[in-house]
């Protein structure tokens, strides 16, 4: 194992373990106003009037009329309002905020507010949705020729549902007017500078008018990438109006119903097969964006770029749309569009193979991309594709190949077994040239006179260990003990913008900047002197430029690779599938800390398993999310999964620190294909499954149909 990979005690272990860490909800409430949201009860309506009761002393109502700047939250585009405009576009859309010292008094005021609506017809059915926020198309090769020459053409539709991030700490933000007029905004977030930019526009002030600090954050997973910008603007406007500190922390039900989630999807795959090989795919991807655009453009981009999976499909056409529905706007969640399309392509390949009478794993293996092949967007896989070796690694651990053949035989009886395999990648870093053209990351090292070094960057610790791994890199390069290097929670008044904590980019991209900065500091080091060094992002030379308008070029500099196998036993009497084993091999390059990276692999894997099996969430005919409590939205407990067996396969990425690649999202991406594939194998016969989550209820439905 590389020296850098050797696990250390995490730098934030002690305060978290002892319960001393202060999250935004833990701050003493005296002197702070509690903010409670007034929300739309209709999925689509004209907002005619809001009638307030008499407000007691010290209680305020805040809405769009109180926004000093633009009533828009900048999240890529500007259509998300801070507080609702003339219409409301989804159930739960924030119309205003009641603030005051006592939470129950605020709730009482809320219950007395009368709203005049003119109900309009909402769009709730993704199949009927006709307003596309984003519409992309790309391809390569000669699709028509391939289809006309095909031996057989397959067509199938696949669907995936919502997934809620269910970070244990709900959304929470606080805004406090500072002496001197600057607005201090802090709370639970991933991207301090995103919040900074959004709040600036809300308050109509320059960068110096807003100060953002990330508090200890209890999980994010993408759910706190953009949403805190909205909540941050809402509390900032309230703090501006009231002149007091305002804090808004969501309850769990509120968080489950009204914050951003994974986009539900409907994907139609058409495949041409000639001489036993898939020669072409024509793919249509529909993502349910919800009521506002937020991050849908970028989620859709990644989803459609991954649409042909790990397979070398020479003739390809992909059409993707992010469609508006009058529901909670969807956003970032670990995987960011890829889990949806990877699920679809894995099941499509699975079904084609079965139709051809082939072992599905062997069929998939014959189509794998290799180093040097062209990507879906006519870029190149510049670096090794270790999937074949990784399949063998997983096989060694769980007897994958033998079991896969064994369980493919007809099974009778109450309990049936299956083992599903999925292969996938995650494009490391921001899609295309976003890193170079938009983010333009800057990171600094501040060496103090006493020889300690502080890392100045904007990437947030959300549990993934940046407060440990960033210092490890710098300490390693400077040959300092780890105690002498530290990294605090991002504070925009002190750190440069090194870009957001998203896209599995922090370690790979910013970590590399810090490594170079450390090298620079090492060469310039002067004992006893206060020094600052800075590094700016430069795009690696080898990249083929990516053009977003045509979706051509290297969408990502490199890829993290994954192979996952999940073994299940299905109880045909109850529909329940028990996971007998979950195995994986992940290539995320050199781990910056073995335990930390394994923790990410295991955590992501289980989130993916939950997404595939029990995390069912949907809205009703009125557009209201029904699974709005922890007893109705089910995530895995410790007894829902056995000990997951993950291993790391290291292919060093030369442009990541010591060979590291983006890691955070990869382990979730492949789980649905493996889980649903396993259930499908267990059920046997002609049963073909095409949606995730695939629940016990779904299983009984399929079995009942088979029996009929």
């Amino acid at each position: 194992m590389e020296k850098i990979s050797q696990s250390v005690v995490k730098k934030d272990h002690a305060p978290k373990m002892s319960g001393r860490s202060i999250y935004v909800c833990d701050i003493d409430k005296h002197g702070i106003l509690c903010g409670k949201m007034l929300r739309s009860k209709y999925a689509k309506a004209k907002l005619l009037a809001v009638h307030l009761p008499e407000l007691p002393d010290g209680y305020y109502y805040v809405d769009r009329n109180d926004v000093p700047g633009d009533n828009n939250v900048n999240i890529v585009m500007d259509d998300t309002p801070i507080y609702a405009r003339e219409t409301v576009e989804y159930i739960g859309e924030p119309i205003g905020m009641v603030c005051g010292p006592d939470e129950s008094v605020c709730e009482n005021i809320l219950s007395k507010i009368q709203i005049d609506y003119e109900e309009l017809e909402p769009m709730l059915d993704l199949r009927k949705a006709d307003e596309a926020f984003f519409n992309y198309e790309y391809g390569k090769g000669d699709l028509d020729k391939a289809f006309s020459e095909a031996d057989k053409v397959y067509e199938e539709e696949f669907g995936t549902g919502y997934q809620d991030q269910t970070y244990l700490e709900t959304q929470g933000m606080m805004a406090e007017p500072e002496e001197g007029g600057r607005m201090f905004v802090h709370g639970s977030m991933q991207c301090a500078y995103y919040v900074h930019g959004a709040v600036m526009r809300a308050l109509g002030c320059g960068p110096a008018g807003v100060h953002v600090h990330q508090d200890v954050t209890g999980g994010g997973f993408g759910g706190k990438e953009a949403f805190p910008s909205i909540l941050g603007c809402q509390v900032a406007v309230a703090a501006k109006k009231t002149g007091k500190a305002v804090r808004c922390v969501f309850g769990r039900r509120e968080d489950l119903e009204f914050t951003s989630k994974r986009h539900p999807s409907l994907c139609t795959y058409k495949a041409a097969v000639k001489d036993g090989k898939v020669t072409a795919m024509d793919i249509d991807v529909k993502f349910n964006a919800g009521a506002y655009t937020t991050l849908s453009a970028v989620v859709l981009q990644r989803g459609i770029i991954c649409a042909d999976g790990v397979y070398n499909i020479e003739n390809l056409h992909v059409h993707g749309r992010a469609l508006k529905t009058n529901t909670t706007p969807c956003g970032a969640y670990r995987g960011f569009g890829a889990p949806q399309t990877f699920f679809a392509v894995e099941m499509m390949m699975e079904h084609i193979a079965k139709d051809l009478g082939e072992d599905t794993l062997e069929f998939k293996e014959r189509h794998l991309v290799k180093q040097g092949d062209s990507t879906s967007t006519s870029g190149v896989y510049h670096f090794p594709v270790p999937i074949p070796a990784m399949i063998n690694e997983v096989d060694k651990v769980c007897n994958l190949r033998a079991k896969h053949k064994e369980y493919a035989k007809p099974q009778t009886g109450r309990y049936r077994k299956g083992i599903g395999i999925s292969m996938h990648f995650h494009g490391a870093g921001f899609t295309g040239s976003g890193e170079r053209d938009f983010i333009k990351a800057v990171a600094r090292l501040h060496k103090y006179k006493d020889g300690t070094v502080e890392i100045l960057a904007a990437n947030g610790e959300i549990g993934q260990g940046l407060r440990t791994t960033f210092p490890k890199i710098v300490a390693h390069e400077l040959n300092l003990p780890l105690e002498k290097v530290f990294y605090d929670h991002p504070d925009t008044s002190r750190v440069p913008d090194s870009g957001p904590t998203v896209a599995s980019r922090s370690l790979m991209t910013v970590g590399e900047l810090l490594r170079r900065a450390a090298i620079k500091l090492r060469t310039e080091w002067e004992d006893g002197k206060d020094q600052m060094v800075e590094e700016r992002y430069t795009e690696p030379d080898f990249m083929i430029p990516f053009y977003l308008d045509k979706f051509q070029g290297d969408a990502y500099p490199t890829y993290a690779w994954g192979v996952q196998a999940i073994e299940v036993e299905v109880d045909t009497y109850t529909g329940i599938s028990t996971i007998l084993g979950a195995y994986a091999s992940f290539d995320v390059g050199t781990p910056m800390d073995y335990n930390i990276v394994m923790g990410q692999m295991e955590g992501g894997f289980l989130q993916g398993i939950g997404y595939s099996s029990i995390e069912y969430m949907d809205y009703d005919a009125k557009g209201r999310i029904r699974n709005n409590s922890f007893s109705d939205y089910l995530i895995p407990t410790s007894v829902d999964v056995p000990n997951m067996k993950c291993q790391l396969h290291v292919e060093k990425y030369p442009f990541g620190p010591y060979g590291a690649k983006g890691a955070g999202e990869l382990p979730l991406v492949g789980a649905p294909g493996a889980y649903v594939g396993a259930v499908e194998q267990a059920l046997g016969g002609k049963i073909r499954l095409n949606h995730a989550p695939f629940t016990a209820e779904d299983t009984i439905k399929v079995l009942t149909k088979e029996d009929a």
Binding site: R414, T572, T574, I614, S631, D640, A696, I700, T704
Partner: protein, 272 residues
């Protein structure tokens, strides 16, 4: 205390129950989730009369404030009851949740109540006026409606001492812990020589109350196993007709299919 009473014994508790509008609070795990505003709680969790598990010549007697964890540690509690309560929620809930609370909540999803039904349990209902013993099946009048007077408290659950050894139990929830039952099933057979002396089958979580059909069970009484086997398909057909279920958190079809699968499996397992 404000908005609450912590009586020292059952008599005090019954006096308060008679004279004030209070909500009986045993473990609190259902009440506190409901969070009834302006409620006044009558705290029963520490009452000496309610926290014992006893055995007399007729019954196993479980105090209404006995927790599931306490019951799991007791040699007196029948294995079938332990199967059911060991699957309730998670350790922290089992440490606080009680038999009386499970009944008092009035839900057909109550895991211990299914066993009460199948065991033909009786409930002791006590007030200052005296007490009455009620069959659990008669205690439930409909969806969340109980035969419990405003001045009464559930004080004891009376289970038969024997006859529950040969059982079949399955809880079907959305996951393996912290799961509210979506379908729960319990079946018990008692043989007298080579003849079936008793057969009780209960379906939980699929209707407004736990379901039992004694008139269908009666068709097996007095029969040998081979005789009963001959009646099996007809019996299943009759059960299927009786189980006219509606949609809950899961579909009616799912509820029905799982109930029938488990019923058939129970009969088969027991040699019928």
């Amino acid at each position: 205390m404000v908005n609450g009473y912590a009586p020292a014994n059952l008599q005090e508790a019954l006096e308060i129950r008679r004279t004030r509008k209070v909500v009986p609070y045993a473990g609190g795990t259902d009440l506190m989730v409901k969070g009834t505003k302006d409620a006044v709680y009558l705290f029963l969790g520490k009452l000496p009369e309610l926290i014992e598990i006893r055995s007399d010549d007729q019954y196993i007697r479980i105090g209404a404030a006995v927790t599931y964890t306490q019951a799991l540690a007791s040699d007196l509690v029948p294995a079938l009851m332990k199967e059911a309560i060991s699957r309730i929620a998670a350790p922290a809930i089992r440490n606080a949740g009680t038999f009386g609370g499970n009944l008092g909540n009035g839900s057909a999803k109550a895991d211990s109540v299914l066993i009460d039904y199948v065991a033909d349990a009786k409930l002791r209902l006590t007030s200052v006026r005296g007490e009455r013993i009620v069959d659990v099946a008669k205690f439930y009048l409909g969806r969340k409606k109980l035969d419990l007077a405003d001045d009464e408290l559930i004080t004891e659950i009376l289970l038969p001492k024997t006859g529950l050894e040969n059982y079949y139990y399955k809880k079907v929830g959305g996951r393996n812990a912290l799961a509210i039952s979506r379908v729960s099933f319990a079946g018990v057979i008692l043989m007298d020589g080579d003849k079936i002396a008793r057969c009780s089958v209960g379906f939980g979580a699929v209707a407004d109350t736990v379901l039992r059909f004694p008139e269908l069970e009666a068709q097996l009484i007095g029969k040998t196993l081979p005789e009963a086997k001959k009646r099996k398909e007809e019996l299943l057909r009759q059960y299927s007709e009786k189980l006219a279920l509606t949609k809950g958190r899961v579909s009616a079809e799912y509820r029905k299919a799982v109930c029938m699968n488990l019923l058939r499996d129970f009969l088969t397992e027991k040699g019928i």
